[in-house]
């Protein structure tokens, strides 16, 4: 078992088989630096719980294909990314820090899927992006590729 500590001082015990999906921790274990608790100063307990949930489900990914659990795993992944934007970004940042490639892919893909085909207005609202472009600058971008701003697939709803 490996002990992980979140930035709000909560400790979590995780099986080594699960935690080595993180390249960062795998390297630490290999280098013998993981004898006691591993502090994770960038990750809060709420996010760490999510990450551990993912790691536990994805132990022995290779075996899933043999035992026919692929669909189960797919369903888990779909459910897993069903979270708010802020939470999603927290998990992405944690996955990036811990270097968990599969989790990073899953969450970035989810973010991209939510963003694609959205209108500019919808994305601004979803991600709370402040528009710092002047009207002229914005018009110039639109004039460059007006076709990118038209089309039946463009979705103005916020979710």
């Amino acid at each position: 078992m490996v002990k992980l500590k979140s930035n709000d001082d909560k400790e979590f015990e995780v099986e080594e088989a699960a935690v080595i999906q993180s390249e960062m921790i795998k390297n630490m274990i290999e280098d013998g630096c993981a004898t006691s608790v591993i502090p994770l100063p960038n990750i809060d307990s709420k996010t760490l719980i999510k990450v551990i949930e993912y790691l536990n489900k994805h132990i022995n990914m290779g075996k899933a294909a043999e035992t026919g659990e692929e669909d189960d795993l797919k369903e888990f992944d779909e459910q897993f990314v069903n979270m708010g934007w802020e939470e999603l970004f927290d998990v992405i940042m944690a996955a990036n820090y811990l270097n968990i490639h599969e989790l990073m892919e899953l969450c970035c893909q989810s973010a991209a899927d939510r963003l694609k085909n959205k209108s500019v207005r919808a994305v601004r609202e979803m991600l709370k992006i402040t528009n710092d472009l002047t009207e002229e600058e914005e018009q110039e971008i639109i004039n460059d590729a007006p076709w990118a701003f038209e089309g039946p697939e463009i979705d103005d709803t916020v979710n």
Binding site: M93, N96, R124, K128, I129, E138, I141, A145, A148
Partner: protein, 371 residues
């Protein structure tokens, strides 16, 4: 350049910004790292890049309007390059092109066909439908056509299949697809006959609504009516020189000023012989099909101009134009209009063709042009 673009001036390796390429096409900028304020907190540059890499190009162009930092990120030449590497250009597999009325048809030897609309910038991949057979069927001919009656564009293609490996006998299968109407290719009834089988990539669509092609067998000219969806007639090849012609390679069929024409040529230059190009133009006296005659133009090119005239260089014939291109010995293209010649730098043409093939055509601000 726009004032709000934070793109490095001039070269990619600008001294003010240190870019390093990492394995997974991530862009690392040691300085000028663009962090984006999203959902109330700063999201590191590499994560924003990672997400944007997975967004379709059209959405990406729209997202330039989100904020200044996102605009400069998406406009960054290195980002665009990495985006292309990650998202393999969708037209990469297509080696052949043809266009009529602003529609561009792309295809390859195994029968994949894509249609791009130059005006709406939309593209569609036609169903990859191959006739089944033991021998891997290859598509030898594909052409766009226009049906003047229904005002619909259609794609015609021919496949060669063999169902008996031992005999090696080929069958011809002809398929047609009406763009905007059909969901799958329709086999042309009365097909399976090799008597109309077109030679490899040797066909031309004419404004009379007919696709003309050089037949593989007999080497006459076959005609396929796009509106009627059937083979309408066979035009005898020019007397005397056919089927062997000057070279053993089949002549190219081309559209010269609205007339069906064939271009034949001597393949290699032996000794000091001048290269001969013969152009046969199908002339119609106006009375009807019986009144058709081949008009012969012979173009002699001094051998000092060109060291080698390969088949490939003749493939570079500009259809729809009254000239052809040949590669000269000094890496230049010689452009002939009958006996009148002009020179073009071959590198220039190659560069343009290369960019188009790689789906890497870019607009004035280096944003990928998405079809």
């Amino acid at each position: 350049m726009r004032k709000f673009h934070k793109r490095p001036e001039g070269s990619l390796h600008s001294s003010t910004t240190n870019y390093t390429y990492m394995e997974e096409n991530k862009i690392y900028m040691e300085e000028n790292k663009i962090n984006v304020n999203i959902a109330g907190s700063f999201i590191p540059h590499e994560i924003v890049v990672e997400i944007l890499m997975k967004v379709p190009a059209k959405s990406l162009l729209r997202f330039k309007c989100l904020s200044k930092s996102l605009c400069s990120l998406i406009s960054d030449t290195l980002f665009i390059e990495a985006y292309h590497q990650r998202n393999r250009p969708c037209f990469r597999d297509f080696g052949f092109t043809q266009s009529i009325n602003g529609l561009v048809c792309l295809w390859n030897n195994v029968g994949k066909v894509a249609i791009c609309n130059r005006f709406t910038k939309q593209h569609v991949f036609l169903p990859h439908q191959q006739p089944t057979g033991l021998f891997c069927p290859s598509m030898t001919c594909c052409s766009l056509g226009f049906d003047p009656a229904t005002k619909k564009h259609k794609v015609f293609k021919a496949h060669a299949v063999s169902d008996q490996e031992e005999t090696g006998k080929f069958q011809a299968i002809y398929l047609i697809f009406t763009i905007g109407t059909d969901n799958s290719w329709r086999e042309i009834s009365g097909g399976c006959s090799l008597s109309f089988y077109p030679a490899k990539h040797n066909c031309v669509y004419m404004d009379d609504g007919v696709i003309y092609f050089v037949k593989k067998l007999g080497r006459d000219i076959g005609a396929f009516s796009v509106g009627e969806e059937k083979f309408t007639r066979i035009i005898s090849s020019p007397d005397g020189v056919w089927p062997l012609g000057i070279s053993k390679i089949l002549p190219r069929i081309v559209d010269i000023k609205g007339q069906v024409a064939l271009v034949d040529h001597t393949k290699d230059v032996v000794g000091d012989d001048d290269i001969k190009i013969v152009l046969y133009v199908l002339m119609n006296g106006g009375v009807g099909e019986d009144d058709e005659t081949w008009l012969t133009h012979t173009i002699e090119l001094p051998s000092s101009e060109i060291t080698e005239l390969s088949h490939c260089s003749l493939l570079g014939l500009f259809h729809k134009c009254s000239y052809m291109t040949l590669e000269g010995k000094n890496g230049e293209l010689l452009k002939y209009i009958k006996c009148y010649c002009r020179r073009f730098k071959v590198e220039k043409v190659r560069e343009v063709v290369r960019r188009m093939r790689r789906d890497r055509a870019t607009g004035p601000d280096e944003i990928p042009v998405d079809f």
